[in-house]
Structure formats: C-alpha cells, structure tokens
C-alpha cells in the first residue's frame, strides 16, 4: 500500500462554501432546521469542477528529469560542450598546430601523457590535448550545422510533401531516386571533387541527410493531416501556411528535436568515416576523424596507443550522450508516459 504522505489539494471555491457552512455550524450547534435548509446554488462553482492543471511541456520535462541516466548524460554532455568552448581561454593551453621542440631543436614527438602534455604529443610534436579539443570543436560544429540544415530542409520538404496532396507524387518519385544514391559514394565523390575542408564536408553530408527527415515528417503529417481539428481550421478559411505552422508543427516539435539529437552523432560519425578513409579534412584542421585515423595507424605500437584511445573516448562519450538524451526525450515527450 503506497503512502505518499501529502495532502491532496483543495478546491478553493466549493471548500470555501463548505467551510463557511461548517463555520456557521460550529457556532451554537445548528438546529436540524438550519442544517436541512436549502443552500445557495452557484452555477459558476459547478462549472469550475473539472479543471485538471495538466501541462504538456511541464509533464515532458518532469518525465525527462525522472530518468536519472538521461540526466547524467545531459550533465556530461553539457559539461563537455562548455569545456570544449572554454578550453582555449584557460591558462596554460597550447596551440594545436604548434610543433613543440626540445632543447636541441628536435620535435617532441610521441611523448606519452604526462605533466607537460596532458594527453601526450603526436608523431610530429603537437600537443594532443589541444588537438583533441580543437578536433571536438570542429566535429561538433560540423555535426550541429548538418543537423540544422537537415532539419530545415527536411521539415520544409516534408511538410509540403505530406500536406499538399498534389505534390505527393512528385516528391515520392524524387525521394525514390535520391534515396537510391549511395550516400557514401556521394560523400567520396564530392570530397574528391571539391577542395577538402569543413564547408565541403557540411555540404556533402547535408546533400542527402535531409531525405530521412523529410520522409519522417511527411509520414507524421499524413497521420495528423485529416484529423478533425485541421478540418475545422480549413472550414474557418485558415490559409495553409497557418495550418502548418499552428496546427501541425507544434505536434511535431518533440519528434523533430529527437531526430536532430540523433542526427548530430550521426553526422559526426560520417565525418569521422570520411576523414578516416582519407578524403575528409586535411591534417592541419584537426578533427576527431583525422585524430582517430592517425591514432589507428599507430595502434600496433603499445606505447603509442594513447593517441588512439583519447579521441575515440571523446567520440564515444559524445555519441552515447546524444543518443541517450535523444531517446530519453522522445520517451518523455510521449503523453502516455506522463502519468507517473
């Protein structure tokens, strides 16, 4: 038997009436005549009876914060994000591209992690700690930008595709064609043709990334498009853009956010992959991709494995955090989970 140990809330108006009657009854004990006389009838308080006080976003946030694991990862991720951006401004940080030499002018390469270089140095003497954070910044930037472009283009296309019946055929055919283009091949092709760099990668990744979001949004829109409240809006003469903005998109905010949260690690993963196979970012732009690639080539030498471990660890933390947070948010946003 659960005992939650708190008082239920009181209904102010009807209780006030009851209290006042109770009060009046406490004074010289009321005669039966008084107790059994008619009370004043207040239709307004009758109307007030049903108020429930439920707030969708309030319950979503509460459900999310009840998930301890998600909150933990949220803290981890936020801390990491903050640190990534504050890091260059902390005292004692080294430039990621600077090659450090020892007293004889020879590069301090492959120095294992220690006091001077917290994560050691790489094979040409650059501080790995600085490179890793620089790399994380780059990768995160790519990840967020791609996710944003995917979201914007995806929602635009998805909404038109789902809501405007006449465009359905056109978009479906377009989707079928584009979806069959292997994303990897496209990535490789574009990275090969254009100069390697951050904007190239963003362009290449965004080119096909929006397809999934568009299709997803389109499916959601088809589900809610013909619900009564949308018909009602049409009957009132509301223009299509307003129906999309006010009736459809608010329902999709939670799913859009979830997809974006999952798109970020996906984009970072793609960047790592492209750089890993050698056509991503050039070495002088540190990114998690080329850090991992360099590290992997040294994997066989036990003493140098740290150069692989550190960037991989960072990548894993980012990916896992975003996935967990994204999924936890999706669960929290589902009204069926709002009962606890």
């Amino acid at each position: 038997m659960k005992n939650l140990g708190f008082r239920p809330l009181r209904n102010v108006k009807t209780d006030a009436l009851g209290d006042s009657i109770l009060e009046s009854m406490k004074q010289p004990p009321l005669s039966d005549e008084e107790a059994f006389s008619f009370a004043e009838f207040d239709p307004e308080s009758a109307e007030r009876g049903g108020y429930s006080g439920y707030s969708y976003w309030g319950s979503t946030l509460r459900a999310f914060f009840q998930n301890k694991i998600a909150v933990f990862f949220l803290i981890v991720m936020v801390t990491m994000l903050l640190f990534t951006f504050i890091q260059p401004y902390l005292p004692g940080q080294k430039d990621p591209l600077l090659i450090h030499n020892d007293e004889w002018g020879l590069p301090l390469n492959n120095v294992p992690p220690g006091e001077e270089f917290w994560m050691g140095t790489n094979s040409i003497g650059q501080d790995l700690w600085a490179r890793i954070w620089a790399g994380t910044r780059t990768s995160l930037f790519i990840g967020f930008t791609v996710a944003l472009v995917e979201a914007v283009v995806g929602i635009l296309v998805g909404v038109l595709w789902g809501y405007v019946r006449k465009l359905d055929f056109f978009f479906t055919e377009l989707y079928n064609v584009l979806d069959n283009i292997p994303q990897t091949l496209l990535l490789i092709l574009i990275s090969y043709v254009l100069r390697p760099g951050v904007s190239t990668i963003i362009f290449a990744l965004s080119l096909t990334g929006w397809l999934g979001m568009a299709r997803f949004i389109r499916n959601q829109i088809i589900i809610i498009r013909d619900r009564d409240y949308n018909l009602a809006s049409r009957c009132l003469g509301i223009p299509t853009w307003r129906i999309i903005l006010k009736n459809l998109l608010p329902y999709l905010v939670s799913v859009i956010t979830m997809r974006m949260a999952l798109a970020i690690p996906s984009a970072i993963g793609n960047e790592v992959f492209v750089t890993y196979i050698g056509i991503g970012l050039p070495v002088d732009t540190p990114s998690l991709g080329n850090l991992i690639q360099t590290g992997r080539s040294l994997m066989t030498v036990a003493s140098l494995r740290y150069q692989l471990y550190f960037p991989v660890l960072v990548l894993v933390v980012i990916t896992v955090s975003f996935y967990i947070i994204g999924n936890a948010f999706a669960d929290a946003a589902d009204p069926k989970n709002h009962v606890k």
């Binding site: 108020y51 409240y229 018909l231 009957c235 006010k246």
Partner: protein, 311 residues
C-alpha cells in the same frame, strides 16, 4: 401562406470515392432543401453518407454530380474566390469528437479566435479579437477565464462548447452540426442541445443536424430526413415522422430507440430492416413521392398503394 426562404438547396447530389474504375457511391442523387431558420435533421447509420453530405456542403469534399445552392448561388464545384470567402464565413461546422476537434497545442483563446485570422477579418486588432472571444465563450456558458487554458484541461462537454464558440465567432447563418453529441455522455448532451436551441432562437440560425439517434433528432429538429446507404428514404416534419413512419427502415430506426421505461422496453419488439423486403427490380423501381403534404418517401408504386392503405 408566405413562401419560406430556402437557404440551402441540394439537387441530385452525388458523391463518389475511389478510383474511376471502382467508384464507391457514398451519396446517390440526394435532393432536399433547408428553410431559413429551421433545424433540419439528417439521420442514418454510419456509412449512410450523412457526414459526406455535410462535408460536401461546406466544400471539404468535392462533389461528383448534382448541385448545392446556398442562398440561391451554386457553391459546389469551382467557384469564385469571393463566393468561397462568403461561404466560409456564412457556413460553419461543428464536429463530432470533442477530443480530436480542438488543437491540443493551442490555448482556447487561439482556438476560438482562429477564424478571425482568415482573410476578410485581418483588420481586427488584438483587442477586438479578445473581446469577441470572451463574448463567444460566455455565449456558450463557459467562463472567460478559460481562454488562457489548454483543451485537455476540460471535459468532453466543455470542449464541445469550445468548438461551438469557435464557429459562433464567425457569425454564420448556417451551421452544420455533424453528430455533435454522439461522443458525449447522455447527461451532457442536454447541455449542448439546449445551447444549440438557444443560439438558434437568439441569432436566427439554420442548422443541418446530422445524427444516428432519432430520439435526439425529434427533440431538436423541425423536419427530418432518413438516409440509408446514400439515398434518402423518407422526409417529413418530425412529429409527422414519428406519428406515421412508413418506410420500413424508418420503422426499424424508431423501434431501436432505447426508452427509459422498463415496462415498455420489456414489451418492445425490435424491428430489423432487411433491404430485400422491397422486392425492387428493373420494372419495380422506387421513386421519390409525396404521400402527404410535406411527407416524402422513396417507394415504388406498389408500395405507395400499401402505405396509403396504412394511413
């Protein structure tokens, strides 16, 4: 007797769904008219086409054949933008399910004032809109403070009233009520029905009341049409229909009405409608005939003779 004005006229209306090769005829050459100021009931089972007729009139569904005239002007098919705007303002609809007919993510304020954001009403200031909303809410018996709340905080009956307020704010002449009380508890239905009657008296509204329950319709409607599988089978004044129900389908509907009277219910015999009882064939075709003044029925000549004898 002065000629009553016909506000809505439906002539040989046909609505088909599906592809051209396999069309499904939901509404089959339906004709009726609605006088200004009256409540016209359209009663039938689910799938009979009654909702489709309502949606065709308000131009959500395209029509396949026939004409719909509103205030003398044809409103089905392609019409001018000005006429479209006029129709949008003068014809409004109340939906069946209070749980899905309101935008859950918007406040009651926005929901009720939604119509005022359409073209033709853009000149209104936020203040004016708020006033209209407050008035509409109090007209339907809700407290003005409800404007800042969300729909899920209200009960079914209250939500339905919010839906009514939403259509009222447009100041329409004609309201199509598509089973507005079917999804409500029986005790709440009375609230909404009284509200609809009251609004009609105050504003001289005309209603098309779509329902599947004849008992409700009797109470609120002046004339009733009974529809079965896309065809209207009987049409008469409500009291006349209850006094002299002729078509077997109408009689079946009537016998199915639950009565809050245990003795009567125990002695009741339930009639079931069997379409084959008509024995229609190529030679024996039913036509729309007037058997008494104002009382129409879909019957073949043989059946007409039978019905005449019954009266």
């Amino acid at each position: 007797m002065s000629e009553r004005k016909k506000l809505v006229e439906v002539e040989d209306l046909t609505v088909q769904f599906g592809s051209k090769r396999h069309p499904f005829t939901a509404v089959d050459k339906v004709s009726f008219h609605i006088f200004q100021g009256e409540t016209f009931g359209l009663v039938g089972e689910s799938g009979s086409g009654k909702t489709t007729i309502g949606r065709a009139i308000i131009r959500i569904h395209p029509t396949t054949g026939g004409k719909i005239l509103f205030d003398g002007k044809q409103i089905n098919g392609k019409i001018s933008r000005a006429l479209d705007r006029e129709v949008t303002q003068r014809i409004q609809m109340i939906f069946q399910d209070p749980m899905s007919s309101l935008n859950e993510r918007a406040k009651v304020d926005y929901i009720v004032s939604e119509g005022l954001y359409s073209s033709g009403h853009q000149h209104l200031s936020a203040q004016e809109r708020q006033e209209k909303v407050a008035k509409a809410l109090s007209d339907v018996g809700l407290l003005p403070e409800f404007a800042s709340r969300f729909p899920h905080e209200f009960s079914g009956g209250q939500r339905q009233r919010i839906g009514i307020a939403r259509s009222l704010v447009m100041e329409p002449d004609f309201i199509i009520a598509d089973e507005p009380i079917s999804a409500l508890d029986v005790s709440i239905r009375a609230q909404v029905l009284n509200l609809l009657s009251q609004l009609q008296r105050e504003r001289n509204l005309t209603y098309l009341f779509i329902a599947h329950d004849l008992s409700v319709v009797r109470f609120i409607c002046n004339r009733i049409a009974v529809i079965h599988k896309g065809k209207i089978v009987e049409l008469a004044d409500s009291e006349e229909l209850f006094l002299h129900p002729l078509h077997p389908y109408t009689r079946a509907l009537l016998s199915a009405i639950p009565q809050p009277d245990p003795i009567a219910e125990r002695n009741k015999k339930l009639l079931v409608y069997d379409p084959s009882c008509h024995h229609y064939s190529d030679t024996n075709v039913p036509t729309w005939q007037e058997i008494l003044p104002g009382h129409f029925i879909l019957a073949s000549d043989e059946e007409m003779a039978q019905y005449q004898k019954q009266l």
